[in-house]
């Protein structure tokens, strides 16, 4: 594995490398070199199985991280190829020509994060959220509570209680010195 990392570092300059455990390694590449590296790993290094492709939102850096998890059946190694793309103009190259099922992940990421993969088949089709008009929901700035309060309403005639208040009121009213409400961590 060290040899492979050296070889790839000779081809391009890796931005970061981490050995998570013996059979799992992560490295970060520039977005422009991503397709070339994936194609090299698939065609020449035996990493033929694409386990998944997913995105992570690092909103504080203004970046999305894309993770391409590859597997080599011979060496029994997993490699996570990471790349950081700009959050504002989220768009990157499609890999549906390398793996025939990659379009599915790209469609999901487009729906959940709003990252575009130009040329990917059916990428604009809805995956699980039919008729969704809000911002892509897996982005970290999507406020789920605000959305649900705006969209749904309480069933009429129903009241809710704050569980902590309710317990204090109902159960511990007669026992103000009870250890249950005088715990150190409160």
């Amino acid at each position: 594995m060290e040899q492979l990392i050296k070889k790839i570092n000779g081809m391009i300059r890796l931005r970061a490398y981490k050995k998570q455990r013996e059979s799992l390694h992560f490295f970060t590449v520039e977005e422009a070199q991503l397709e070339m590296i994936l194609s090299h790993l698939k065609n020449y290094e035996g990493f033929t199985h694409l386990a998944f492709l997913q995105a992570v939102d690092f909103i504080e850096d203004g970046k999305f991280q894309l993770t391409y998890m590859l597997y080599n059946y011979e060496t029994k190694m997993n490699i996570g190829v990471l790349t950081l793309i700009d959050r504002e103009e989220a768009e990157t190259a499609s890999i549906h020509k390398l793996w025939a099922h990659a379009w599915q992940y790209q469609r999901e990421i487009h729906e959940m994060y709003g990252i575009d993969f130009p040329g990917s088949p059916r990428v604009k089709e809805s995956f699980v959220l039919e008729g969704w008009e809000e911002m892509p929901p897996m982005r970290r700035d999507f406020d789920t509570k605000e959305y649900s309060e705006r969209t749904f309403y309480q069933r009429p005639g129903r009241s809710t209680n704050d569980p902590a208040e309710y317990m204090k009121e109902k159960l511990y009213r007669n026992y103000p010195q009870s250890p249950a409400i005088r715990r150190d961590d409160e």
């Binding site: 998570q20 455990r21 059979s23 799992l24 992560f26 033929t48 199985h49 694409l50 386990a51 998944f52 997913q54 992570v56 939102d57 690092f58 991280q65 993770t67 998890m69 059946y73 029994k76 997993n78 996570g80 793996w99 025939a100 099922h101 379009w103 599915q104 809805s126 995956f127 699980v128 959220l129 039919e130 929901p137 897996m138 970290r140 789920t144 961590d185």
Partner: protein, 399 residues
């Protein structure tokens, strides 16, 4: 016209002029020509555990185009987990796949333990392995019922689902829950085996083997089953990498990929797990392979019951779980479920909530890309059998 339909529907060889022409491997379909019917299979159908629909276009009774639609079961677990503390994520994940929840439990705990650098005690590892193998048996028993039901043999389904209930009884004794067990908590397991468990489990193994003999005689040796499943939905070795096929679906066409052997986890490196493969790749070979796999799981359960340590800790020393902060990092852990590679990708950012958790279910590609490809040019009546033979579990597609 594919080779499959040539073999399977010999009569169609004579005249294909009424079928659509294909360009670049895709049929040219003009719905206004009144030659085709568009219809839905699902979202409710026998055998597939969960809701998923296939939009199909048929020409006569032959499917010329299929497209999978999911979204009936989206519960947003991945988003929910971003807003919850680590320990609060744990009861969510078992809901990702109903017939086999334990793989999810194990994987999310394993990912947290790896990121937080926690070592699980020896006995807990054995108990986890036992739990995973038992859940494989329960899931496969349900699958036999689905595959038989899709061919109109509901009785076999009733036998096996009835037997699965006895396995759920064992789960109830072991974990307290029948369907969702929430047993493999981060750091170890929740409980030790109850008194008399080993004897009951051994009895049940004997009874299950007896039932499986009946299943073999009435299902796998049945001429009707053979004639319908042989040649249906052939997966070729080239398709395995192209479509990310894993598990029994990949092993049925000769790909040696079983995570219990390739990347052993828990105690599988000390157990005698065999790589079961076949070379045919059709629905019948997948059925046989899964049948052999249940026997292997039964063997493994007996072996684990012999070797499980009597004494020992079952839970590691854990920090305060209500305020558990995991150092920043990321990992991908995987395990072999009955459908194949099941994995969890977890990214932590040093706070008490995960930054991202992604559950990679094997059905993700099997139910969409692979099903859409294999459903072309098969008979409408074979679609249910094909869906079950890929062993899809829709909840793990949309999480």
């Amino acid at each position: 016209m594919s080779n499959l339909s040539k073999n399977k529907y010999k009569g169609y060889d004579a005249d294909r002029s009424k079928y659509p022409e294909t360009r670049n491997g895709e049929p040219v379909i003009d719905l206004d020509s009144h030659k085709f019917t568009k219809m839905w299979q699902g979202p409710q159908h026998p055998g597939v555990t969960g809701n998923m629909s296939v939009e199909i276009i048929v020409n006569g009774d032959e499917i010329v185009h299929a497209q999978t639609h999911v979204g009936y079961l989206h519960r947003g677990f991945e988003k929910l987990m971003e807003r919850r503390k680590y320990i609060q994520c744990f009861p969510l994940v078992c809901r990702i796949c109903v017939p086999e929840p334990d793989t999810n439990e194990y994987l999310v705990s394993a990912a947290m333990e790896e990121l937080a650098d926690i070592t699980v005690p020896e006995k807990a590892l054995w108990l986890r392995t036992l739990n995973l193998e038992m859940s494989r048996i329960a899931s496969y028993l349900m699958w036999i019922g689905g595959q038989a039901g899709s061919l109109g043999m509901g009785t076999i389904g009733q036998w096996t689902v009835g037997m699965r209930d006895f396995w759920l009884d064992l789960f109830e004794e072991m974990t307290g829950g029948r369907v969702y067990h929430m047993y493999m908590v981060p750091g170890g397991v929740r409980k030790d085996l109850p008194d008399g468990f080993i004897r009951k489990a051994r009895d049940l193994i004997v009874r299950t083997r007896k039932l499986l003999r009946d299943v073999e005689n009435s299902f796998l040796s049945n001429a009707v089953v053979k004639s319908r499943l042989q040649g249906l939905g052939v997966i070729t070795p080239d398709m395995v990498d192209e479509y990310g096929i894993v598990g029994p679906n990949a092993r049925s066409c000769g790909k040696e990929y079983d995570i219990r052997l390739n990347n052993p986890y828990l105690k599988y490196d000390e157990l005698d797990v065999k790589m079961i493969t076949s070379t045919v790749g059709d629905a019948f070979s997948r059925a046989q392979l899964r049948y052999d796999d249940i026997h292997q799981s039964l063997d493994l359960v007996s072996e684990i019951l012999k070797r499980i340590p009597v004494e020992g800790k079952i839970q590691a020393e854990m920090p305060n779980l209500l305020n558990w902060k995991i150092p920043a990092g990321q990992t991908y852990v995987k395990a072999e479920s009955t459908r194949g590679e099941h994995g969890f990708y977890m990214v932590s950012d040093g706070t008490d909530k995960p930054r991202r958790v992604f559950a990679r279910g094997a059905s993700y590609t099997h139910a969409i890309s692979v099903l859409e490809k294999l459903a072309q040019n098969i008979s409408l009546s074979d679609l249910a059998a094909l869906m079950v033979s890929l062993h899809t579990c829709p909840p793990e597609i949309e999480r």
